[in-house]
């Protein structure tokens, strides 16, 4: 067996998002951003971005305003806890499903 054959038999993963599936379905609380309190939004320049730094799942973008990718957000609430101006609040996910039904 040559090297080429051997190489074909190794398990080689390709990188891509969503290895754990759409992890947004794990969420029980949804982060909601209040733009009137968010520092980069208020000043309209690059500042703060603590939520971006501490997000474990890389779902908060480093933009003005910061965007939260709800498809993968697991709803841990670290962003809400660390935000210096409390601009992010965690809202029960059940309230959104009620809205969807209506």
């Amino acid at each position: 067996m040559g090297t080429r054959n051997y190489r074909r038999k190794t398990s080689h993963s390709e990188h891509g998002p969503g290895d754990g599936g759409r992890t947004g379905s794990w969420r029980v609380e949804r982060p909601i951003l209040d733009k009137s309190l968010c520092i980069p939004c208020k000043r309209n320049k690059e500042a703060c971005f603590i939520c971006w730094l501490f997000c474990p799942d890389i779902v908060i973008s480093r933009t003005i305003p910061p965007k939260i990718d709800l498809e993968y957000c697991k709803g841990c609430g670290i962003c809400a806890e660390e935000c210096p101006t409390k601009a992010i609040t965690m809202v029960d996910e059940a309230e959104f499903s009620k809205e969807d039904k209506e």
Binding site: S11, E14, D19, W26, I50, D57, E71, G75, A80
Partner: protein, 302 residues
């Protein structure tokens, strides 16, 4: 001395994809993400079975953008040596090899391979993330589980033994760089990795990682708990460059302030320490005070 990185000067390029299998509010995900930013694109990772293997995903999808070799538990540092030898034979000198292992894979199972590689002086970075237990298999005790912590196999009395001081073991190998970091201070971790990159021989990092399911706290308080560990003086951030010990970041500021948060607050924030009695906590507080009294004394002498 390089300038300190701020949030705004931290590179925006990400090497981890969203939607990993890591638990909600995982401290490792924060440290891993920032650590990879510091290691950069030209890096080959070596990972033994650990929470990080869970985070990196199952075949055929991987959540890390960098090449990664998954190896057996005991052989992390040995595999890193192998990669270094291959790179040397191919004449590639600009590629960094980094081994990321859990605390069990470092302090218990992988210690002999790590010690061997450190003694040989292989030029790689070894990062041990310490979530103080075998969290990925269901919270079993490891060598670095602290005294009094309840785990799956110490369910009633908590762990009866002391935490193993792995950074001190590695410092005894006379490495060019040994550092302790915390997931609650990711910028400090970033700065330290950048600083040690060009140093010769093996470099060792010990990263304190808050773990919501294993430690028993609400995921949203992850950073707060990690920060409390440092502010109470329970876990100190330092670096040892060529044998010279120096406290860094938040711990350095604590020496200036001469004021520690009572360690009780750290213990009471987590359910794994619920069986610790007030006498035990007072005892641990005394040990911490003695440790910090030595730091204060050293600071006055300078």
């Amino acid at each position: 001395m390089q300038a300190k990185t701020t949030i705004l000067s931290l590179p925006t390029e990400e090497f981890v994809h969203p939607g990993t299998r890591a638990c909600t509010g995982c401290g490792l995900a924060i440290a891993y993400r920032v650590g990879l930013k510091a290691l950069g694109k030209n890096t080959i990772l070596v990972v033994p079975p650990s929470c990080l293997t869970v985070l990196q995903g199952l075949f055929p999808v991987a959540s890390t953008k960098l090449p990664c070799l998954n190896v057996t538990f005991a052989s992390t540092a040995a595999a890193a040596t192998g990669i270094l030898a291959t790179l040397k034979s191919q004449g590639k000198t600009n590629i960094q090899v980094a081994a990321w292992a859990g605390d069990g894979g470092t302090s218990d199972i992988g210690l002999q391979a790590l010690s061997g590689a450190a003694e040989r002086g292989d030029n790689f970075i070894y990062l041990c993330y310490d979530n103080e237990g075998y969290m990925n298999t269901g919270v079993q005790r490891s060598g670095t589980t602290p005294l009094g912590a309840i785990t799956a196999n110490t369910p009633f009395k908590g762990k009866l033994q002391q935490k193993k001081d792995v950074p001190a073991i590695m410092a005894a190998h006379h490495l060019s760089y040994v550092a302790t970091c915390s997931a609650a201070y990711p910028l400090d971790l970033y700065d330290k990795i950048i600083r040690c990159k060009d140093m010769p021989g093996a470099k060792y990092f010990h990263i304190h990682i808050p773990c919501p399911p294993g430690w028993g706290y609400d995921p949203r308080y992850g950073i707060k708990v990690g920060r409390l560990a440092v502010e109470t003086g329970y876990y100190d951030l330092y670096e040892i460059v060529n044998g010279e010990f120096k406290l860094t970041a938040a711990s350095e500021k604590l020496v200036e302030k001469r004021k520690l948060v009572p360690v009780r607050e750290y213990f009471r924030a987590q359910s794994r320490f619920k069986i610790l009695t007030d006498e035990q906590i007072a005892d641990i507080q005394n040990q911490i005070d003695a440790k910090w009294a030595a730091y204060y004394k050293k600071d006055e002498q300078q």
